[in-house]
Amino acid sequence: MSLTLDEVRHVANLARLSLSPEEEALMQTQLSAILDAMAELSRLDTAQVEPTSHAAGEVPPWRPDAVQPSFSPEKALGNAPAKVGTSFAVPKILD
């Protein structure tokens, strides 16, 4: 399984990673090798096997949807890289 550079760029875009050209080339080689190693799973017939999404296996317990105290705006914004008043500030969303 060999990934093309375009595929690497497509996945990087989906993952919101601005990779450098060197990183793109490295990812192309390494991801291709890793996916090759993963391909051994295709040898197993799993047509009749249910997927396992969770090790717990049981239905998670319910709890009442009770209102709990939450952070003050000051505390919630304590780690904000940029803020305006009690809001997180971000660059323009629409050009």
């Binding site: 993952a15 396992t52 090790a55 952070f71 505390k75 304590g78 904000a80 890289p81 050009d95």
Partner: protein, 490 residues
């Protein structure tokens, strides 16, 4: 007497008898950190004033006859993946440099409520992705047995701190072996509890269907005592088992007479296993047989597929979990971007290290349109087969024994540029996470070069008590856990 040579429970007895104070124990630990950690590099952050204040409070409780629990006053360290209110939490990543958590993880609250002073935050592979602590965004941690070697990972800082007697115990997390493999490589005890046994609330997420929190200690009894504090139902983690945990020390000394211990043939047939590791583990299983256990060959036929299964499921979940690091609410932000999308991309490119990017890319690919069925769904189906292997084995045995890691500690730099070689470190530890089982590593011997070797004990779901009991039965007749690491001075 140097208090740092004591186990957690020995120190607790000394505190109870008032022959030592918690302040003395914390001072002795911090002095050792000061002396050794410039070379070992286990700590990312040392909280001297916080630990001393907690120790003083503990001494007051002991003086008034009102200790908060059996381990009140015993200082421990935390892998830097646990949120600690008012202290830095980096998850070993530059993207969280300077992040101060606004609240404590549930397990941190539990440790504080039980009176354990917290010495600081311990180094790790970035976001727990790695098996050598070389993927830390800050610096690699070194193995106290030989400073040229890796302590394993991802909880390598926790393992090194406990092995070098800078902390009496520590918390780690284990997604594919991150407690057990570094425990094996540094000669300490590390337990990954059953999925759901310990709360993950406030623990930075890596792969949510696999992550568990567990104790790392010098003895099996310490491990049981520390697990007791952690194994508490938490309504804030929906996977937390609502049932109250049993008393883990009640049957600890019960021995293994009459137990059936499974030896999975696939684990012992692995090419690349160090013959010295195999010999030590076989000697350990014989020792348990001499104590009255019977050894039963078992088969876990899908073992060879665990690595591929894990390295699809864990990166897929990680790619989703790590989407939250977008530079908006906390952590690093790349300034100067023209728009929001550019800011996301640049922030994440600057903040994440190479292994994290690799896994995000792999996971995103495995989840993307057109590849989901062939990779992610396929891996989830094979996970079912791996889980079934264990269910069938546990129908005839009480626990499964194997090496923890195919080799002893390896050189820093030896595997870091070859991801597939590094992933092979986890070949014996991954299936346990995929199946959600409890698993423990404890020291079972040394190589001729003097490096520790780990024995892995896997149990049925929720059967930590038996895993601990088997480990204790072995430990009782050996002194491997008493040896002090040779790579650092006393």
């Amino acid at each position: 007497m140097d208090p740092t040579t004591l186990s957690m429970l020995e120190l607790a007895s000394a505190l109870e008898a008032r022959s030592l104070s918690s302040v003395e124990a914390v001072r002795a630990s911090l002095d050792r950190v000061e002396r050794l950690d410039g070379r070992v590099k286990a700590f990312l952050h040392v909280d001297r004033p916080g630990a001393l204040a907690q120790a003083e409070a503990s001494d007051r409780r002991r003086a008034s006859g009102t200790p908060a629990g059996p381990l009140d006053g015993v200082p421990v360290g935390l892998k830097d993946l646990f949120l600690t209110e008012g202290l830095p939490t980096t998850a070993g990543s530059r993207i969280l440099e300077g992040f101060i958590a606004p609240y404590d993880a549930t397990v941190v609250k539990l440790l504080k409520a039980a009176g354990l002073p917290l010495l600081g935050k311990l180094n790790m592979d970035e976001f727990a992705m790695g098996s050598s602590t070389e993927n830390s965004g800050y610096f690699p941690t070194r193995n106290p047995w030989n400073l040229d070697l890796s302590p394993g990972g991802s909880s390598g800082g926790s393992a090194a701190a406990v092995a070098a007697r800078m902390a009496f115990g520590a918390l780690g997390t284990d997604t594919g072996g991150s407690i057990r493999q570094p425990a094996a490589l540094t000669g300490i005890v590390g337990l990954k509890p059953t999925y759901g046994r310990v709360s993950r609330f406030g623990v930075v997420a890596f792969a949510s269907s696999l992550d568990q929190v567990g104790p790392m200690t010098r003895t099996v009894a310490d491990c049981a005592a520390l697990l007791q504090i952690l194994a508490v139902p938490d309504p804030r983690d929906s996977t937390s088992n609502p049932e109250v945990a049993p008393d883990y020390r009640a049957e600890l000394e019960g021995g293994v007479r009459g137990m059936k211990l499974g030896l999975p043939r696939e684990y012992f047939e692995l090419p690349g296993m160090d013959p010295e590791v195999r010999a030590a583990v076989e000697a350990a299983t014989s020792a348990l047989q001499k104590q009255g256990a019977s050894l039963v060959p078992v088969s876990l036929p899908h073992t060879r597929y665990a690595l591929a299964t894990y390295y699809l499921i864990a990166p897929a979940e990680a790619s989703s979990n790590l989407a939250r690091y977008d530079g908006v609410r906390y952590g690093l932000r790349a300034f100067g971007a023209k728009n929001l999308l550019q800011m996301y991309g640049q922030t994440r490119d600057q903040g994440f290290g190479l292994e994290v990017k690799r896994r995000i890319m792999l996971g995103t690919y495995a989840l993307s349109a057109g590849y989901y069925d062939a990779y992610y769904l396929k891996a989830q189906k094979v996970r079912t087969l791996i889980k079934r292997d264990f269910e069938e084995a546990f129908a005839s045995v009480d626990a499964v024994l194997s090496p923890t890691s195919p080799t002893a500690a390896f050189r820093i730099g030896e595997k870091v540029s070859d991801p597939l070689a590094m992933y092979l470190n986890d070949v014996f530890t991954l299936p346990c996470n995929l199946a959600g089982l409890p698993g423990m590593s404890l020291p079972c011997g040394f190589t001729r070069a003097g490096l520790p070797i780990g024995l892995q004990i896997l149990g049925r779901p929720w059967d930590e008590a038996r895993v601990l009991r088997i480990g204790r039965a072995f430990e009782r007749e050996h002194d491997f856990h008493r040896r002090a690491p040779t790579g650092v001075g006393g």
